[in-house]
């Protein structure tokens, strides 16, 4: 009996899906011609080759050399050293990795770094002013104790800013609904809502 331990019936991750797709693509042409198979294998190996990726993060340009499979999240954390953005699931299910890309909230674990060439990425490290003054959302999270362990907090804060930008913070019900993609396992939810209301009212019209 031979089994692939990593891909059980329920266990298809984004990465195994990627390699799986490539393998399937590689397997089919084998029937057709060896040349096509070689070509497919070359594609597979090119996937692992480093590519040059230019990103603007918190207003600074970065020139990176990355595996094409590197997520924006891993690029930020492992290659740029901005570890404020957190990995909580790597599947787009928890929201801890939320950043702003061109002002819109994005799950950085579901976006390959190479897809963000030339985009403006804002992370939690880019919110406070250079003089150390906190963004109103950061201050509101402190004022309302909108976290406990603090791990989901960068994602909550970025998502909350995105939520207001989208016009989805008009009522507490709206906030609850449009912030439900960010899980807080410590369950600071009522405090998160209160913080967003405060920051919304402070930033409205600015």
């Amino acid at each position: 009996m031979l089994k692939n331990p990593a891909s059980s019936a329920t266990g298809l991750s984004r990465r195994s899906f990627m390699t799986g797709t490539v393998s399937a693509a590689a397997a089919a042409p084998l029937l057709a011609s060896a040349a096509k198979a070689e070509e497919a294998a070359a594609v597979h190996s090119r996937l692992r080759e480093a590519v040059a990726v230019s990103l603007r993060i918190n207003g600074q340009p970065y020139a990176l050399s990355l595996d094409t499979r590197t997520s924006l999240l891993d690029a930020l954390r492992d290659h740029v050293g901005l570890t404020g953005t957190k990995k909580g699931c790597d599947h787009g299910q928890c929201g801890a990795c939320t950043v702003l890309v061109d002002g819109k909230r994005v799950l950085s674990c579901l976006s390959f770094a190479v897809m963000n060439q030339g985009s403006e990425v804002t992370t939690v490290e880019g919110l406070a002013s250079s003089d150390g003054k906190l963004h109103p959302m950061q201050q509101a999270f402190i004022d309302h104790d909108a976290f406990q362990c603090g791990y989901c907090t960068p994602g909550q804060i970025m998502s909350a800013i995105g939520c207001i930008n989208e016009g989805h913070a008009n009522s507490e019900d709206d906030i609850r609904e449009f912030m439900s993609g960010n899980i807080c396992r410590c369950a600071a939810y009522p405090n998160i809502v209160a913080a967003i209301v405060q920051a919304r009212d402070q930033t409205r019209g600015t």
Binding site: G88, G150, T153
Partner: protein, 759 residues
């Protein structure tokens, strides 16, 4: 004003913001996998796809061919180190790479190490195993499940508690109920992923890993690796949620340490969310049978609680919540029994209120059923059965404010407006139900050490090897030092989460605030004594004053008559620059070897129901409103009120947040959380945050926490009862009670979902 910062009542501390709040909102709080580490290699786990059998062959060629692959650690590579141990600091005795036997699905079979995360993941997924597979036992009722008495199998459960003659009292009782309840498998799912980063500097091993127990892990990891514990340092400055999951060390830690040694460079392995379900611990499923006999006046005369818990074949993990449920009310007679059911599963472990969550759920659901059977208000039923002493050992409670909690919560909730008739309350298409239940959690403390330094400039440094898992312990430890030394909180720096600091017990069992604050208090008082002697000696500014009459406030030492001396001036007079005190706290009843054991990572817990003089518990009462759609049976919880009494509250802000989080956990346990186990393969099915449901923002609306003032000097010097695990006890029963009130359906098996209401 601000709900997050409740005005302190009697014996309650100021709602200071967390001292690490700025770090947390700016992304500068470094969790273990964030700590900068140069020249790092990445590890990825490969895990078994069967639950029982043997690995006969591993095919590694495809994995080795991945560009950037550096090493694969697998069978044979761990032979020179010791197997893990179960208990205290160890999650399981299963040494996954010591033995080709497969004990459970998702067991580690190899660690692939590569130059990049992507290459490590690719290689791990290309590792192919061949198995000799046997039919696994998944859970209760599965073929091959072995049921054994729990008593004596684990030091946590020495015997089944009992009192009086249950059989006779139950037979004689005019009103009786006999009901069965169950709770499902649950996984902690802290949002921070589990990870290990290990590197060696000569003989020194440094490990960055989120843990609730740096000292215990240092000792256990050193034992496994056969090195001196002095050569192991565990760093965990911030922990991204724990809930018990990061208490015991799992086998991965030593495997990563071995990989780092072989490679001669740092290795980091971040476990995927999916793999965590099988490689970490979890709350096992439980079953309960409860019998209650009572007179028509509502007085309980007989109580029996039988529990069944799933554990692994390798380890006898047991929670046995009967020691708490058996002491909760004035029962007359008590009979309890706990059984373990062994299955082909990974070993369970502590999860927020491990015994109380399932066992008190069953008890409180039964209490509600009995109140209904008696035709009595459920609050009144509990009031009638309020004990003067606990029924097992006939000891008094050190303090018990349960009725005050019920009264205050009922008042805030508007319980008096509830129409007790089932299905009587409606709002349009919504059936409205209201229910309540008791929360209880044992109050314990353990030995703890702390070092406090006060400089002549008024700067304070507190060092303690405890853990900031989100409870706010760093803040309240700083607050204790600030209060005792009379310096502002922004002059206090608190270091935690490092095994090279003075040892603290595991951050579990809701003991941290009591244990840490008691040690910090002791160190601060030693500093006060030195300064007091310096200030009151002959010819000194406060000469003639008695030490015990001095107060420390606003940077000054203030004598009874109002005379004062600036602390910085006293330092000058004494000709010292800093006073540094190392203190060891041991709770009442500690054995002569208790402090030595603290340094060995084996802290003794005292309190709860273990003390001679009294039993020590914190109490609460929770009231919930549910709304159930009359057509779809969608269940919502628009309102929840909890009142809790837990001795001295160090900080009303962090206390409220913990209780709030607990109550929301309780709502999740009532309506959402369950790990589904595939009975055919003994495999967890919903291994991610999409399918393992936890409360999200839209699930929670009005939530109110009431902190009922309580003074209890018997529990520990700080007068603190733990409350981190109190909030989620009883909640699920309150929801079940409300669902019954709305619909007439008594749901006994958690979680309560729509399908159970469409019968």
């Amino acid at each position: 004003m601000d709900a997050a910062a409740p005005k302190p009542g009697e014996n309650q501390g100021e709602p200071l913001p967390r001292i690490d709040a700025r770090l947390k909102v700016t992304g500068q709080a470094h969790y273990p996998a964030d700590l900068p580490t140069a020249n790092i290699a990445y590890g990825a786990l490969s895990t078994s796809s069967i639950a029982r059998g043997r690995v006969t062959k591993l095919r590694l060629d495809d994995a080795r061919a991945v560009p950037g692959l550096l090493d694969i650690v697998t069978y044979g590579d761990m032979d020179k180190v010791e197997k893990p141990k179960f208990g205290n600091s160890g999650a399981t005795s299963i040494g996954p790479l010591h033995d080709r036997t497969i004990f459970h699905d998702g067991q580690i079979i190899a660690l692939a190490v590569a130059e990049t995360f992507e290459a490590a993941e690719e290689a791990a997924q290309l590792i192919r195993a061949e198995y000799e597979e046997e039919k696994p036992t998944a859970s209760f009722d599965s073929p091959g499940a072995k049921t054994v008495d729990a008593a004596g199998k684990n030091p946590m459960h020495k015997e089944d508690v009992k009192a009086g003659n249950f059989d006779a009292a139950y037979a004689a009782a005019p009103v009786r109920i006999d009901a069965r309840y169950s709770t499902p498998t649950q996984h902690h799912n802290p949002i921070e992923l589990f990870s290990t980063t290990a590197f060696w500097q000569g003989d020194q091993l440094i490990v960055h890993e989120p843990t609730q127990n740096v000292t215990g892990w240092k000792v256990e990891l050193a034992r496994q690796l056969k090195i001196d514990p002095a050569n192991v340092r565990i760093l965990s400055p911030f922990i991204g949620g724990a809930f018990g999951s990061k208490g015991p060390m799992t086998p991965r830690t030593a495997i990563v340490a071995v990989a780092a040694k072989r490679l001669g460079r740092p290795v980091r392995c971040v476990t995927s969310r999916m793999q965590a379900f099988g490689t970490q611990t979890y709350r096992a499923e439980t079953r309960h049978r409860i019998r209650i006999g009572a007179g028509r006046d509502g007085r309980i005369t007989a109580f029996a609680h039988e529990g069944w818990e799933v554990t692994s074949r390798a380890d006898a993990y047991v929670v046995a919540g009967t020691s708490a449920t058996g002491r909760m009310y004035d029962y007359g007679s008590v009979l309890t029994h706990v059984s373990l059911v062994e299955a082909d599963r990974n070993t369970p472990g502590y999860m927020r209120s491990p015994p109380e969550t399932p066992y008190v759920y069953a008890l409180e659901n039964a209490m509600d059923e009995m109140a209904v059977t008696l035709g009595m208000d459920p609050v009144e039923f509990r009031r009638i059965n309020e004990p003067k002493v606990e029924p097992i050992g006939k000891k008094p409670f050190s303090s018990r404010s349960l009725i005050q909690c019920y009264d205050q919560a009922a008042d805030a909730f508007g319980w008096a407006k509830r129409d007790p008739k089932v299905g009587a309350m409606r709002d349009g298409d919504w059936l409205v139900g209201m229910g309540c239940a008791t929360a209880i959690y044992p109050t314990a403390a353990a030995p703890c050490a702390a070092r406090v330094r006060l400089t002549s400039d008024g700067d304070v440094r507190v060092q303690c090897g405890s853990h900031e898992i989100g409870t706010g312990v760093r803040t309240v430890a700083g607050q204790m030092a600030s209060e005792r030394l009379g310096v502002p909180i922004d002059k206090v720096n608190v270091e935690m989460g490092d095994s090279s600091l003075p040892p603290a017990p595991v951050s579990g069992g809701s003991i941290s605030t009591a244990s840490v604050c008691s040690a910090v208090l002791k160190a601060c008082d030693a500093i006060r004594t030195k300064l007091s002697v310096g200030a009151t000696a002959e010819g000194r500014p406060l000469a003639g004053s008695h030490n015990e009459e001095l107060d420390f406030a606003d940077g000054k030492i203030v004598a009874k008559g109002g005379a004062s001396a600036k602390i910085e001036d006293v330092f000058k007079i004494m000709q010292v620059g800093a006073i540094d005190e190392y203190a060891e706290f041991a709770p009442k009843g500690a054995t002569p070897g208790a402090l030595k054991k603290l340094y060995a990572g084996q802290p003794e817990f005292h309190g709860g129901d273990h003390d001679e003089d009294s039993v020590k518990y914190a109490f609460g009462a929770e009231f919930v409103e549910v709304r159930i759609n009359r057509y779809t049976r969608e269940i919502r919880v628009p309102r929840i009120v909890g009142a809790f009494a837990a001795g001295r509250i160090m900080n009303t802000r962090t206390a409220r947040s913990q209780l709030m989080g607990g109550m929301i956990w309780g709502i999740g346990q009532a309506l959402q959380e369950a790990t589904e186990v595939d009975g055919r393969y003994a495999r967890y099915v919903n291994r991610d945050l999409q399918d393992y449901l936890v409360p999200v923002n839209a699930d929670i609306r009005d939530l109110q926490v009431i902190l009922v003032p309580e003074v209890d000097h018997a529990v520990n010097p700080a007068g603190v009862k733990g409350l981190g695990e109190l909030g989620n006890v009883g909640t699920a029963a309150a929801v079940a009670s409300a669902v019954y009130h709305a619909t007439g359906n008594r749901i006994r098996d958690l979680p309560i979902r729509i399908d159970q209401l469409i019968a």
